[in-house]
Subunit: 141 residues, 2 copies
DNA sequence: ATATTGTTGAAATCGTTTTTCAATAAAAAT
DNA sequence: ATTTTTATTGAAAAACGATTTCAACAATAT
């Protein structure tokens, strides 16, 4: 839970950014959440400790965290961007329940390999991929 | 190129919908386009033959086509919904070029199988999936 | 302490999609 | 054929998430 703050600190130094209570608070709150959260979710959580914080600041800060490799945007297909932890979290795919919206993280090394091969077959230099498997989760059936 | 109109006709009969020039025109235009097209693209094309047609009608009609299994919505990650043909087109994944936006359709039966297995491993009843591989296409490098 | 300049947050704006609603037109009833 | 019914249309308005603007503010450098 420390490294992420170091990354933020380094970015602040390197880029001539300023150390603000908002940024530190959003990072703290974000790291404490486990799962996939919308800006509104994160902002709501942040407001508990920092009531004056604005939605716009959360948008801007999460974009910064994305650039720093701390957060990754994902979308469940409902038009709302959600963020998940990225630092020290390896790549994974998502199993999205179409009933309850639950989102499970999963990964198959074989699928990863085959995706590389598929891209190359078409002359693509692969840079990443996003796989969502939709279905009914264990709890919902 | 005939079956799709039959499907529309049948839906009109079954659901008490009405046969309108707009719906037939949008279907004609959509079938004539090959690739992935936004509402604005489709509306622009439709306007050539039917100048009075409105964007809203295209939204509504494409949603109907989705329900009828004639069209499938896909998103390239840029927030704009695009439609592709579904009827008589088997499932495929998308290779999206991050430089030029080109979108190639590809499929790997092995990946499909492994996805099923991955879903089941987590107790999911899979209902479908969307895989986008991002990278640089042959032309762009 | 002061000057500089990055940051904040409310309001305004943006771009896509949806809803509203009066006018229209397709199908049914006469 | 005419009238009635009701689905459909399309412009305008609203909704929605996300972005931009800008004056007030506050972190850092001088």
């Amino acid at each position: 839970m420390k490294k992420e703050f170091e990354i933020l600190s380094r970015a602040i130094g390197d880029r001539g950014l300023r150390r603000t209570a908002q940024r530190e608070n959003i990072l703290k709150v974000f790291l404490a959440m486990e799962g996939h959260f919308s800006i509104e979710n994160i902002c709501g959580e942040a407001k508990k400790q920092f009531p004056s914080i604005g939605r716009v600041t959360v948008y801007r800060t999460m974009k910064l965290f994305e650039e720093l490799g701390l957060a990754e945007k994902m979308d469940r297909g409902d038009g709302i961007a959600r963020y998940e932890h990225k630092y020290n979290h390896k790549h994974h795919d998502h199993l999205v329940c179409v009933k309850c919206g639950a989102c499970i993280e999963a990964v198959s090394p074989q699928i990863e390999k085959l995706q590389e091969a598929l891209a190359k077959k078409y002359g693509f230099v692969p840079a990443g991929h996003k796989l969502r498997i939709f279905g009914i989760c264990k709890n919902c059936r």
